[in-house]
């Protein structure tokens, strides 16, 4: 499998080419360079996946872990070194497929979406950089390589969010995204350092004896690593950067902030899963509760947002919460026992990447058509944009969990795992699944049904997008329809053994009923031209509504901490102290020396006889001293 190196090399090369020579290329050439390299990567990823899964299992019933490439990049000590390499196991191969598929779709889509934009070449260069970093992250052979690429995806996200660098909101959003995730990465880094020190390795499989000695240290390390994952995956309270990240171009939101980068945290937990489940079950359950709370919080905020990308952003946060819950509720590595969640989480990661990318790309078409993100500017678009409408509906049904769309299967597994963990968790997650259906259909009706903004549409008639944009939609919609029937458990499961997904009809039935009820409610409230119920509720619970609309003031809270506490209470006093205390002390020393000189200066008055007096008295004193002692 030596060719896997090309999966990393191609995007890196296309990034270098576009970054160095992009300005000399025409838009079309730049786009083709980026897209072709990505197409090649996708083909290679599929080939890798095919040959990997068809090569069959080893004698112990597990898929082999292959390391076709590995070299020592930065040596520290004989046992600790950062390696760069490629590791293939079921989840990394799965992620290769997910990342390359979505990325290719976004590359194609951007041809239409970004057409004529200034900086088109730069955009493709950054997309290549991101794809390179994300692929490097998923195939990492050790935790430090993961961190290296983790930072790289962070910076490419920063660059892409700030793509429209003349917009103040985009600048602020990119800065916020980077700093918040950087803050979380601090936890990740310290976690890695602890892990490295006590395990004496950065690989994912420390020696038994080290693990036995570790004791309380390992849960700390894993907990801190999860902080990093929580930052990237926008877990409460580190989620604040993700909604703002929607300032970037919409295809970027689809790729980075919906399908791939934001699930890096989930992937991290999955990667370290054997350690979590055996040595830090409490941390794992804490992950579950954080995920559940985040899912609930984000779902409730998503119900009242009016910017369609914001709704999708909160929906992403909520769905990642689901994945975290799925991983967190595992109590065992056996999928027939307590380890179902692992498979469910990875399955949901896969299906969610597809339908959420589809939703974002659809939203991109809509924004492209009406030149606004606000739902008020939309309504009744189903007549103008049939393809977008149908594919969007497919994605909404999938995320709402309606069979036979893919979201149903993965979400059902998650709910089953939750009920297996505790009924409370199961019911909470079922309720959140219902909320998901509700806000997604609120969005759907708001965009495609409801009252049409005729005045606006008369001025500028919305139109269906070009083929470059609709093709990815259709492709992803097909995947969304079919992906649920993939026997996912055969490929990925917590202990690596094959597992056949079988629906628990009790759980599935409940969730379908809840989802349908929520959709019906949304239909009743939002499908008509006027929305008396929604307005009435908003007026009745105006405080709650406003709080939810302002995302329960989390941004304000963060702003308070950063601006007030860190900036005003630490940095400003420190700078003041530096200028006025330390520097003044140095100036005082200089002044003191000067003053001493000044005060001795009159002695040197230029009168020769005065000097001789000093001279003579010196002699007398010295003589006296010599004589007396």
């Amino acid at each position: 499998m030596d060719y896997t190196i090309l999966i990393l090399a191609l995007p890196a090369l296309s990034f270098l080419l576009l970054a160095l020579a992009g300005m000399k290329m025409s838009h079309r050439v730049a786009g083709i360079v980026g897209t072709l390299s990505l197409a090649a990567v996708t083909v290679l990823s599929y080939a890798t996946a095919c040959s990997y899964f068809t090569a069959g299992r080893m004698e112990d019933g597990l898929y082999p872990t292959l390391v076709p490439w590995n070299f020592e990049w930065l040596p520290f000590t004989p046992s600790l070194h950062i390696d760069m390499g490629i590791l293939l196991d079921p989840i990394s191969v799965l992620m290769l497929v997910v990342v390359s598929t979505v990325s290719l779709m976004v590359h194609i889509y951007s041809f239409g979406y970004m057409k004529g934009e200034k900086g088109f070449q730069r955009y493709y260069a950054f997309l290549s950089l991101f794809t390179f970093a994300m692929l490097g992250l998923v195939v990492a052979t050790n935790i430090f390589q993961m961190y290296v690429f983790w930072e790289l995806v962070g910076v490419s996200s920063y660059l892409l969010i700030g793509f429209y660098y003349t917009k103040p909101e985009a600048i602020a959003a990119s800065k916020k995204a980077f700093i918040v995730t950087r803050f979380a990465d601090l936890g990740f880094l310290i976690g890695i350092l602890i892990y490295g020190y006590y395990m004496q390795t950065f690989t994912f499989t420390p020696s038994e004896e080290r693990l036995m000695q570790a004791g309380m240290v390992l849960p700390w390390a894993l907990g801190l690593m999860f902080v990093g994952g929580a930052g990237k995956s926008a877990m409460f309270p580190l989620h604040i950067w993700l909604p703002d990240a929607m300032e970037g171009p919409t295809p970027v939101s689809a790729l980075i902030h919906a399908a791939t980068m934001v699930v890096a945290g989930v992937y991290l937990v999955a990667r370290m899963f054997p350690l979590y489940v055996d040595f830090a079950p409490h941390v794992l359950h804490a992950v579950a509760w954080v995920g559940a709370f985040t899912a609930l919080y984000a779902a409730s905020v998503a119900c009242v947002q009016s910017d369609i990308k914001r709704v999708l952003a909160f929906s992403t946060i909520s769905q990642i919460g689901f994945m975290m819950v799925a991983l967190g509720v595992c109590t065992d590595a056996d999928p027939h026992g307590g380890g179902l969640g692992y498979m469910a989480g990875m399955f949901h990661l896969f299906t969610h990447a597809m339908f959420k990318a589809l939703l974002f790309l659809g939203a991109g078409c809509i924004i492209h058509a009406v030149h606004s993100n606000e739902m008020e500017m939309m309504g009744g678009l189903r007549r103008y944009m049939p393809v977008t409408h149908i594919t969007f509906l497919v994605a909404c049904l999938a995320i709402a969990g309606i069979p036979p769309f893919s979201g149903f299967f993965s979400k059902d597994e998650i709910l089953t795992a939750c009920f297996g963990f505790s009924p409370a968790m199961g019911w909470i997650m079922t309720a959140i699944a219902g909320m998901t259906a509700f806000y997604m259909f609120r969005l759907y009706y708001g965009i495609f049904w409801g009252k049409e903004n005729r005045e606006l549409h008369a001025r500028h008639t919305p139109h269906e997008s070009p083929l470059a944009m609709t093709f990815p939609l259709v492709f992803l919609a097909l995947v969304t329809v079919g992906a649920g029937f993939i026997p996912f458990g055969r490929f990925v499961s917590a202990n690596g053994h094959a597992y056949d997904i079988h629906l628990d009809w009790g759980v599935a039935g409940t969730s379908i009923v809840v989802a349908l009820a929520a959709i019906a409610l949304a239909t009743w409230m939002y499908a008509r031209d006027r929305q008396p119920v929604a307005d009435m509720l908003a007026a009745r619970f105006s405080r709650l509504h406003r709080a939810a609309y302002r995302r329960f003031y989390m941004d304000e809270a963060w702003l308070f901490v950063t601006k007030r506490v860190i900036f005003r209470c630490v940095s400003v006093p420190v700078a003041w102290f530096d200028r006025h205390v330390i520097d003044q002390f140095m100036n005082f020393l200089a002044w003191g020396t000067n003053a001493a000189g000044e005060s001795l200066q009159p002695v040197q008055n230029g009168r020769i006889q005065a000097y001789t007096w000093w001279f003579l008295s010196g002699i007398i004193v010295l003589t006296a001293v010599l004589l007396l002692f």
């Binding site: 040197q604 008055n605 230029g606 009168r607 020769i608 006889q609 001789t612 007096w613 003579l616």
Partner: protein, 105 residues
């Protein structure tokens, strides 16, 4: 009666010369007077050299040499000093020490 001239007599003379010189150096304001005082002090030292050599180490000559040195130095010094004083006078029209303080910095 014959007074035996002993070392003490020479020393008294040289001491008187020395302190005259010191007194003059401290009290007179005229540069020429200062120069004269310095000459007095130098010669006092020369006398001491010669005397100590004669009485303490009669078989050696270093002290005499040093007196000769002193005389030569005094001559050179006088030449230089007078040249300086003349130049100072030309430039500042003054030979009084209290008024020549330009070099104090």
């Amino acid at each position: 009666m014959e007074i035996e001239i002993h070392v003490i007599h020479y020393l008294v003379i040289s001491t008187v010369m020395m302190f005259c010189g010191i007194y003059g150096f401290f009290t007179r304001k005229n540069l020429l007077a200062l120069l004269i005082s310095v000459e007095l002090m130098l010669n006092a030292v020369n006398v001491n050299f010669a005397v100590f050599n004669r009485y303490l180490f009669p078989d050696r000559l270093e002290g005499h040499f040093f007196s000769l040195f002193g005389i030569a130095v005094a001559a050179a010094e006088t030449a230089v000093a007078i040249a300086i004083i003349i130049n100072v006078y030309r430039n500042v029209k003054q030979v009084l020490t209290d008024d020549i303080t330009d070099l104090k910095g």
